[in-house]
Subunit: 456 residues, 2 copies
Amino acid sequence: MTYFEQHRGEYLDDLKAFLRIPSISTDPDHKGDIRRAAEFALDMLKKAGMQNTHLIEGEGNPLVYGEWVGAPGKPTLLLYGHYDVQPADPLEEWLSPPFEPQIRNDNIYARGAVDDKGQTVILIKAVEGLMKQHGRLPVNVKFLLEGEEEMGGEHIESFVKTKPPLLASDAAVICDTEMFAPEMPTLCIGLRGLVYGEIHVQGARQDLHSGVYGGAAPNPIQALAEIITTLKDKDGRIHIPGFYDRVVAPDPKEKEAWARLPFDEAEYLEKEIGAKSLTGEPGFDVFERTWARPTFEVHGIRGGFTGEGAKTVIPAKAVAKISTRLVADQRADEAIAQVSAAVAAACPKGVTVEFKLIHKAEPSLVNPDNHFIQVSAEAMKQSFGRETVYIRSGGSIPIVGVFLESLGIPSVMMGFGLPDDNLHAPNEKFHLPNFYRGIEAVAKYLEMLGGVALTR
Amino acid sequence: MTYFEQHRGEYLDDLKAFLRIPSISTDPDHKGDIRRAAEFALDMLKKAGMQNTHLIEGEGNPLVYGEWVGAPGKPTLLLYGHYDVQPADPLEEWLSPPFEPQIRNDNIYARGAVDDKGQTVILIKAVEGLMKQHGRLPVNVKFLLEGEEEMGGEHIESFVKTKPPLLASDAAVICDTEMFAPEMPTLCIGLRGLVYGEIHVQGARQDLHSGVYGGAAPNPIQALAEIITTLKDKDGRIHIPGFYDRVVAPDPKEKEAWARLPFDEAEYLEKEIGAKSLTGEPGFDVFERTWARPTFEVHGIRGGFTGEGAKTVIPAKAVAKISTRLVADQRADEAIAQVSAAVAAACPKGVTVEFKLIHKAEPSLVNPDNHFIQVSAEAMKQSFGRETVYIRSGGSIPIVGVFLESLGIPSVMMGFGLPDDNLHAPNEKFHLPNFYRGIEAVAKYLEMLGGVALTR
C-alpha cells in the first residue's frame, strides 16, 4: 500500500470538515463562514508544510496563500482552487443536508464536494504527501486560493493584475474542471470567455392601464423580446455585427479527437438535458456548439405583473440578464462593445434601452504541445492507466485569462469531477475514487515535472 | 337651491364613509372589508327607499341587490356599480393615505374615489333624491352591485347567466367610465373585450449551466421572446391567423366625431404616457388604435435568475402573462382558439408551450341611435349645459357583454370620471363637481325616461 493509500482516511476527514463550512459567497449572511473556510484552507496549507502562509486581504473575500520554493532551477507552479461554494437552494431537493457530507455508493454528497473544495484538497494533499514523505518537493509551488469564484468577485483578478513578484511562476495548475467520462483522464485545454450583463428597457414613465393605452403606448416587455430575438434568431445564429469575426475553427486534428470521444447524442438529450430536442447553430455538432462556438443566452427576465391572476398593466420597464460566451480569439472588451451596439441598434420605437455590464472573462485555448500540458497528460495516464483525452469546456474560468495576460503563464486544467456530479445543483457529489486518484495524479505530475521520480 | 344641491354634504359624508373601507378584492386579507363594504352599500340602498334589499351570496363576494318597481308600464333599468377597489400599492406614492379620503382643490382623494365607489354612490343618491322628493320614481330600477370587478371574479357573471327573473329589465346603466375631457358630457358606446392568459414554456427538465450546455440546450426565455415577437411584430401588427377577420371598422360618421374631439397627440405622449414616442399599427390614429383595433399585450414576464448579480443558468421554464383586447365583432371564444393555435404554431424547437386562459370578456358596441342612449345624451347635455360626445373605451367591462347576451339588454355607460383621475394608480381622485353633477344627470335621466319631468 502506497503512502497516499495509507492516508486516505485523513484526507477524507479534512475534506468533510471543509465541506461542513457553508461558505456561500453570494450570500452576505455567510461572511463569517467565508472567513472560517479561508482559515481552514490556510491551516491545511500549514499542515502540508507550506511556508509564508497568509491571507491576502483586500476588497472582498481573502485570498489564501502558501508556498514552498526550495527547489531552485526547477519549475514553479501556481496552484489554484477556490474555497467558496454556490448557494444550496432548492434545499428540499437534497437527499442529505448540503452541509452535512454524507457518503453513499463511493460518492461524497455535499455542496462544494467537487466544486471546488474536493479538488482544492486534491492539490493540497498531493503536496502534503510529497512533503511528508521526502521533506521537500520536486518543484516549487505557490498556492493561491480564492473565495469569490462563485460570485464573480474581482479580488483575485485585481490582485493578479498588479503582477506581484510573489506570484512569479512558470505555469498554473487549476483543479476545477471535470473528466469527460468515468475512468477517462482528461485535460481541458480550452475555455469559453464571458460577457454577462443586463438589458434594461424603459417605456412609459409609469405603468399604464392596457385597456386605456393598449395599442398606442410602447410595451417594454415586447421591446425586450424584440431585442432578444434580433440578437439571436430561432435557428440559434447570433446577429451581433462582427461577433463571429475572430472565431477560430478548431483544427481538424482536434475535431477528429472529439469524434473519438464516447458520446451518444440521444442519451445526452435524454439524461442530461431532458428537453424535446437539442437546439443550436445548424452545421455544428454538439462539441463545437458547446466548446468552440460563442453563444448568446438569456439567464433571467423580469417585467410587469407576475403574481397570481390577472393585472392588465403595460409595465414601465423590463430587464433581462444575458450573456455571451466567447471562444478564441474573441476579446471580451470587443464583445462588450459589439453587444452594446447591437442592443442599441435593435431598440424598437418608443422605448429606451441600456446594456449594463456585470462581468467579463476572456476565452482561453492552450496549445496541447505545451510542455506542462504534455507532462500532465502523461502523469494522468499513468495514474488512471488509460490514455488522457483533450477536451474543452464551454464554461468560463476567468482567472485563466488573467494568469495568461498578467503573469504570462498557461494554465493546466487537471479536472477530476464527473459529468453527473451536479455542479451548482442539488445533490452535488464527488466520486471518492477520483478524489484519491486525483491526489496521486497531481503528486505524480509534480514528480515528473521535477524530472526526478522520487522513490516512495 | 335645488334639493340635490341642498344635500351635497350628506352625499359627501356617505361617500367618505364608503371610501374608508379598504375593500380590496384581490387581497384575501381584506375579506372582512369586502363584506363591510357590501353591507354599507346595502344600507345606502335601504336609506334610498329601495325594497327587496338583500345580499346575493354565492361563490365569491356577495352581490348587493335592491329595487323599486312601482312604476308599471315604465321602463326598468338595471343599475350597475362595484364596491370593491384596486390594491393601493405603491403606498409611498400617495400624498394622503388611500383609505383616509382627503379633499384638495375640489377633488376627493382615495382608493376607489372614482373607480367605482364615487360613481356607485351617484346612482344611489340620484334614486334616493327622487324617492325622498316624490315618494316614487319615474321608472323602475334594480340595483346590482358587485364586489369582484377588480379581481376578474365570476360571481356576477355566473348569476346573470342564469337569467334570473329578478333582473328582467330594459337597459342597464353603468356608472364606471369617464368623460373625455372636463366639462364634456360623455357617453361611452363601445368597449373592448379581453382574452387574458399565460404562456408557459418548458425547456430542459431542470435548470442547466449555461457554460456546459449553452449552444445546445433550448432556452425557454429565448423561446418565449420568439413566440411573443411572432405574435406581434415590431410595427405593432398582430400575426394571429384569423384575428382581424371580424374586426369592424368604425363608420365614417363616428370617425368624424372623433376627429372633432379635443386631442393633442404631443400632449398625450408627454403628459399621459411619458415615453419616447407612441407605437402601434401604422395607418390608424390613436383613437382607432386604442378604441377600435384589437391588441396583443404582454403584462408580465418571468423566468430564470432575476436577483442581484450574475447566475449563468439556462432556466427550465419561463412564463408570460398576455392579453388580447377585442373589438366588435370579434368573439372571445374564437379569439381564445386563435391565440392558442398561434402560440402553439410559434413554438420554437426544443421547448413545449401551453396557453392557459385566465379570463375573458366580450367586446361591445351599442348603436348610438338606441332610445336609452339618446335620452341619456340629452339628460347629460341638460345637466352639463353642453353637447354630449360619444366615445368608446379601450378597456373592458365584461358585464356589458353578459348583460347583452344573457338579459338581452344594452348598457348605457354614463361616466363621470376624468382622464387624470389616476384609476388603478396612486392618488386616485374624483372631481367633486362631477360627483354632484353626476347625481343630477342620472336623476334627470330617470325623469326623462319616465316621460314625466317631476317638479322639484
